[in-house]
């Protein structure tokens, strides 16, 4: 059956409108729920750098939220380590900073959130400083959070996530076993230079004696390089902030 061109065009237009309405309607209805899910996922990632993944896995969404609220407070700093409370007349909070969007700006203009993990209800009693990370893996974006102890040198934990690394190879950065390799490593060398932590090529070696090296992932060298660059870049961006915290703790010790 051969239909006229008018029929075909009318049919296509109606179909497009109907499907378009259906999709935009769904996205409107589900939008708030999706935002909630994303915010929750973000909190889980931040907490993942601080407490074991198994503990987070058994928490309900409400427990994650209340735990996060009672134990984590946030500030936002700029590249010079100065706290930023508002920009262009708009109040700035860590929750409103989109790290992926900031990544595209020149680093002088970027906002850098800091998540401070402290004893319950007491923001003065700090246990860890958590810094976000963002960069490029082999196929797509990778990101994560690194927790530093109060000496601003020892890595307390790390979470890594990715958008499209190869399953079984680069995607292994999300595994607990890989992330636990970073715990206890140091980001400053003996002479006080920021050197970050570098994932090595090859797997199965013991780097427990070297504080700036972690065992690599076999078959995922490019993803590992991406993780290394990401760590180096972001620790560099936060260096000013890290040093202010560092010197204040040294003073406190003296």
């Amino acid at each position: 059956m051969q239909q006229s061109n008018t029929y075909i065009i009318t049919f296509s237009v109606i179909l497009t409108v109907v499907l378009g309405l259906l999709l935009s309607g769904t996205s409107q209805v589900l939008g708030p729920k999706q935002k909630e899910a994303m915010a929750l996922d973000n909190k889980k990632q931040i907490l993942g750098a601080l407490i074991p993944g198994e503990e987070i896995a058994v928490m309900t969404p409400e427990e994650v939220n209340s735990y996060y609220e009672s134990r984590v407070s946030t500030i936002v700093v700029d590249i010079n380590g100065k706290e930023v409370k508002e920009r262009d007349g708009v109040a700035v909070t860590a929750e409103t900073v989109d790290i992926a969007k900031n990544y595209k700006k020149p680093k002088e203009e970027r906002l850098f959130p800091v998540y401070i993990y402290h004893a319950e209800g007491n923001p003065e009693d700090v246990a860890n400083y958590v810094l976000p990370l963002y960069g490029a893996g082999l196929w797509n974006a990778i990101w994560g959070y690194i927790a530093l102890d109060t000496d601003m040198n020892t890595v307390g934990g790390i979470t890594l996530a990715h958008a499209g690394e190869t399953p079984g190879l680069g995607a292994r950065i999300t595994e607990q076993e890989v992330q636990s390799r970073y715990v206890g490593k140091e980001i400053y060398d003996e002479s006080g230079n920021l050197v970050a932590v570098e994932m090595q090529k090859g797997e199965g070696y013991d780097y427990s004696g070297s504080p700036h090296k972690v065992d690599g992932m076999s078959g995922a060298t490019i993803t590992a390089k991406g993780v290394n660059n990401m760590l180096e870049n972001y620790l560099g961006y936060y260096q000013a902030y890290i040093e202010t915290k560092k010197s204040s703790t040294t003073v406190a010790v003296l």
Binding site: Q2, Q3, F11, L19, L23, T26, L30, A37, D41, P167
Partner: protein
């Protein structure tokens, strides 16, 4: 539409049973004798990609069942109004809409699954089984039959990818649905007894091998030969 009245005129004979022999065959045929993966060799791409673990594979199977059944139903409803010259585009638009719906739902209600699967869920659009059933069946059959046909094909696809995932997760990661089976077994035989996992099974190569073995076993049993 005028097309519906034509159909009613033909359907004067007594209504066919809800699950008549012919209709049961629509579901059972694609399970083994005319399996979309092992006989028609369609949908191989996702059968390799998602099957490293049971849990995402199960979600993928459910998503594919939903998309195939719904798209078969919708296309079958419109089959007499769809202009022949743009039918492939129309089918694609319907499938793409359904896939986007699945993705949005996962994002809202199962964010962890969404993170793991969103790439593959998007690829359901290109799954040849979906378009294949639309072209071969839904364009020429009534909605109810089309739903059964789609369900059968989707089940045929699902059990194959679940079977592949079973072996890949067991041998590759030593677990099933995340339960550490190898650890349990080692526990039974004392601390010196350990089972090594096979890294090959985690890579797509492992899926090729298992799929090949399944096809081999199946064709030996059914005696199916490609012409």
């Amino acid at each position: 539409m005028s097309a519906e009245t034509v159909e009613k005129a033909i359907a004067k004979k007594p209504a066919e049973a809800l699950l008549s022999k012919r209709r049961k065959k629509l579901i059972s045929d694609p399970l083994v004798d005319d399996n979309p993966v092992t006989i028609q060799v369609l949908g191989i791409c996702s059968a390799l990609a998602v099957t490293t673990q049971m849990k995402p594979t199960l979600v993928m199977a459910i998503a594919v069942i939903f998309v195939i059944v719904m798209s078969n139903f919708v296309i079958s409803l419109m089959r007499n109004t769809v202009p022949g010259r743009v039918r492939i585009i129309v089918q694609l638009a319907v499938v793409a809409t359904l896939v986007t719906l699945v993705n949005e739902l996962l994002k809202a209600f199962a964010f962890d699954m969404y993170k793991e699967l969103s790439v593959f869920v998007g690829l359901i659009i290109t799954n040849c089984i979906v378009m294949g059933r639309l072209e071969a069946f839904a364009m020429g059959n009534k909605p109810y039959d089309s739903v059964l046909d789609g369900f059968g094909s989707a089940l045929g696809y699902s059990w194959i990818i679940l079977a592949v995932a079973f072996f890949r997760e067991l041998f590759g990661s030593g677990s099933l649905f995340g339960l550490p089976i190898y650890d349990y077994i080692s526990g039974l035989f004392g601390p010196d007894f350990t089972l090594a996992t096979n890294g090959l099974m985690v890579s797509p190569v492992g899926a090729f091998m298992i799929l090949g073995i399944i096809i081999w076993v199946q064709r030996t049993k059914t005696g199916y030969v490609e012409h």
